[in-house]
Assembly symmetry: C2
Homo-oligomer: 501 residues x 2
């Protein structure tokens, strides 16, 4: 009846192929109201896919109003299609013009995010042997799923009732204590009360800006900076003052004159393995940055998103560790080490700010996911976190070394520069050939890299203003050593071709 | 050495008693640097508490810098106390005055929340047989922990890698489809794309306001309304236009004149078992409300937080179900039915608004907790949700009936009124005696109820302006039937005493 075959290597997911097929049969009248669909189990067997794939297709069909289902019975084609959703409806304007009803900031952010996604992922066929140097999340293959399952089970067994009820808006108490203690390893002395657990580092920065920023305020940030900080700054109506990143970090002379020239609400900085450049600042750089901000009475948001990922050389203490006068709000997360899907991050801030953030968290989301927080607490307290950390240090020390060695082997000796990170996942590549100085040069190089089978993150995504030269972020996060070598080989050929043409 | 005894029935938690004891010993010099603390296991045995209680005390002591611990070794008193946290530091002002640095809205919200907590929970001794009618969360004893554990396990087994990685900012796809399908049960036809999964209903309302509201905008809301919506409105700088709640819901004549008199950005309404009053509006009320808003081109935020909790009489369709012209953003949640600690709610909105909210969610928190979303999806798809729903309907139908019957039995026949909800957890009590018309009457009655051993939610917490008469919210959420009867008996005596005195 169905005559459905699925293409396993298509860019269209298999469940979607099944769904599209049924929609077509209904829309063309081949399937009529009341007709039975094959049971999921037998359809799965017939076309050779997992039953959950068929279930997902049927679920979507159900949600779209194409079929009716009852547990334990056949799915049948619905008699009447439901009213078309507004998405599919013709453009007859309703009483509310949603484009006009949404705020300019929300609209801009929506457009920015959509454009960014298009530039990052648009038109890229990842199924064709593409090597992806754009992902910034620890490798799936290193994730200790089984350990997490055990931690979840133990946490539920010990206090299932408590963990499944509304939690503390400041976060699961024992995890706050764990974070405070863990920060001590990095020289940061804070009490549990100064730690607020958040739904990841992004949520922590958002809460801090909600506490501190008013639309029109100025924020000084490294340029380039964390890609997703930029639309967040925009959402808060902030005017970004870009401070260029040099080999040793944010240019402090520029920062000094920026702070002197205009009132700045806060300085946002990533001192370790800066995202995207991979630059780590020195102790003296941190001391001068802190002194400048103390002098101008400007709070610092220190983003320590990869604090634990130092695997080459000696660690430098966070700015928060030398913040004796209480001007630093420190942001951390588990996501770059383990379980980003659980969304557990934190901030450590002076008491009044911590209290404010906690009230804001309560008012905007009641509390966090206590069960996940308890599971991560257990993961830390039973030593699994330390074990895991050693394991990823070992893996990434090798991957980054492979990357640095392969870049040296394959990239041209002139007109190309890259950073040499002491940890983390990313490094930064600059093409300094005079031919590639125009703003559109990045796009043409990016296209070349894609056709060579290498996906990088275009550098301009990390700037609030247009960068002068083509720059790219390379991440070793999800690649094996052979893949890294091959990526550098492809990159080398593509750059050489671009430079000699 | 320690001479520690714990008081089990003290208001101070046991772990805190242990902690305080050690702090005292260190501060007075009875314990010196390097001294060993007893192992957690043996201390727990000695004082007769669970080992996790001792562990928690030790963890806090560690975080506070009083002791050092290494896995598998003794905890010892630290040589140097760390620098005192800013909280404990003398009031020498630092370079940043955090009170001035935080925004006025953030400060106000922090104060509001702190004051509210004080009025709700302050000075109440819950250990002395107090019956708590203030909690609004399904009873612990009804929570299907074991089912959740199995759902988590199965979800991890099927796609552990995917679920622990960054998820879709719109929410776990199959759960979005489940929500869309579930909404169909209530007559709401939306596509999966129009559903965005959020970290609870509170987060959904916050995201909608971020998309729609600009400081200074007006929002019309029932008065009284959901307690935690008020500081959220304040955070967004909204000017609340209170629309009185009558026996049949929001006074639509007042709404009509409010919409006519000034530009209102959005109307926030809870049509089912309104929080706090318990009032459910009729189909015709919903139709007129929708027509009024369509006419004035004002979006509606419909808070369906207890949509599934109708257990008396026939269900009325949500406003969203009759919203053929796309002006309603619908908010829902699992939290009032099951697992509030997992923070899983959603919104269903017209496509452009859903897309905007999704971008905002991405920019403010990257994505949600995919594992919890997948576990809840499984809980629904395997029929456990429906089973659980039947179970809580049965329980609360009996509890609410007991409450209504006991109020009729024990409360005075005059000068006291209460609502008769058709579902949900709460009802609303008004004291209409002329003696209690002053604004301070609520506080004096509240104090009486507390001394009688009944904890209610003071009504003024649910108003943006001061209410004329003393009103209270009563919740049957966490009480057994005998407790409900006893609470009504105590309440009856207290009110009678107050009225005759």
């Amino acid at each position: 009846m169905m005559m459905l075959t699925v293409e396993r290597h298509s860019a269209t997911p298999v469940y979607r192929q099944i769904l599209d097929h049924v929609v077509k049969l209904v829309d063309t009248g081949s399937l009529a109201a009341g007709d039975r669909l094959p049971p999921t189990r037998s359809l799965a067997r017939t076309i050779g896919v997992h039953r959950s794939t068929v279930l997902r297709a049927y679920e979507e069909l159900w949600a779209m109003g194409y079929i009716e289902s009852r547990p334990g019975s056949y799915s049948t084609v619905r008699l009447h299609r439901p009213r078309r959703s507004a998405a599919a409806a013709p453009a007859a304007p309703g009483p509310v013009d949603w484009k006009a009803a949404t705020t300019p900031a929300a609209r801009t952010v929506t457009t920015q995010v959509a454009r960014r996604d298009l530039r990052l992922h648009g038109s890229v066929d990842t199924s064709a042997g593409m090597i992806d140097l754009s992902r910034l999340a620890a490798d799936h293959d290193l994730t200790p799923h089984e350990d997490l399952r055990r931690c979840l089970k133990a946490a539920l067994a010990e206090d299932g009732k408590g963990l499944l009820d509304y939690g503390d808006p400041a976060g699961f108490g024992p995890l706050r204590a764990t974070v405070a203690r863990r920060l001590r390893v990095h020289g940061v002395e804070v009490s549990t009360d100064e730690v607020v657990v958040t739904a990841g580092a992004q949520a922590a920065i958002d809460l801090l800006l909600r506490a501190l920023a008013t639309p029109g305020d100025r924020i000084a940030a490294e340029s380039p900076t964390y890609m997703s900080a930029l639309p967040l700054f925009r959402l808060h109506g902030l005017d970004v003052r870009p401070i260029p990143v040099r080999d040793d970090g944010m240019d402090l002379d520029v920062l000094e004159s920026t702070l002197a020239a205009s009132r700045v609400t806060t300085v946002y900085t990533i001192p370790n393995f800066q995202n995207p450049t991979g630059v780590t600042t020195s102790q003296s750089h941190r001391e001068r940055l802190l002194a400048l901000c103390e002098q101008c009475r400007v709070p610092i948001i220190e983003d320590g998103f990869e604090e634990e990922l130092k695997y080459f050389g000696k660690a430098v203490l966070p700015i928060k560790a030398i913040d004796s006068r209480g001007i630093v709000a420190y942001v951390g997360t588990f996501s770059k080490v383990v379980f980003p899907g659980l969304r557990v991050g934190w901030l450590a801030a002076p008491p009044l700010l911590a209290e404010t953030v906690c009230a804001l968290q309560r008012v905007t989301s009641v509390a966090g996911n206590t069960l996940s927080q308890a599971a991560i607490h257990r993961f830390c307290e039973t030593g699994l976190y330390e074990t895991h950390l050693r394991r990823i240090h070992k893996a990434y020390r090798r991957r980054m070394a492979t990357m640095l060695e392969s870049l040296a082997n394959h990239l041209p000796a002139v007109h190309v520069e890259w950073t040499r990170p002491q940890g983390g996942y990313t490094l930064w590549l600059r093409i300094t050939h005079p031919r590639y100085e125009a703003p559109e040069a990045e796009a043409s190089l990016h296209a070349r890299f894609l056709s060579a089978g290498v996906k990088l993150s275009p550098g301009s995504l990390f700037f609030s203003d247009a960068p002068a030269t083509p720059q790219f972020r390379l991440s070793v996060a999800c690649l094996t050593e052979p893949e890294i070598r091959e990526a550098c080989r492809r990159l080398g050929s593509a750059i050489e071709a671009a430079l000699v043409e």
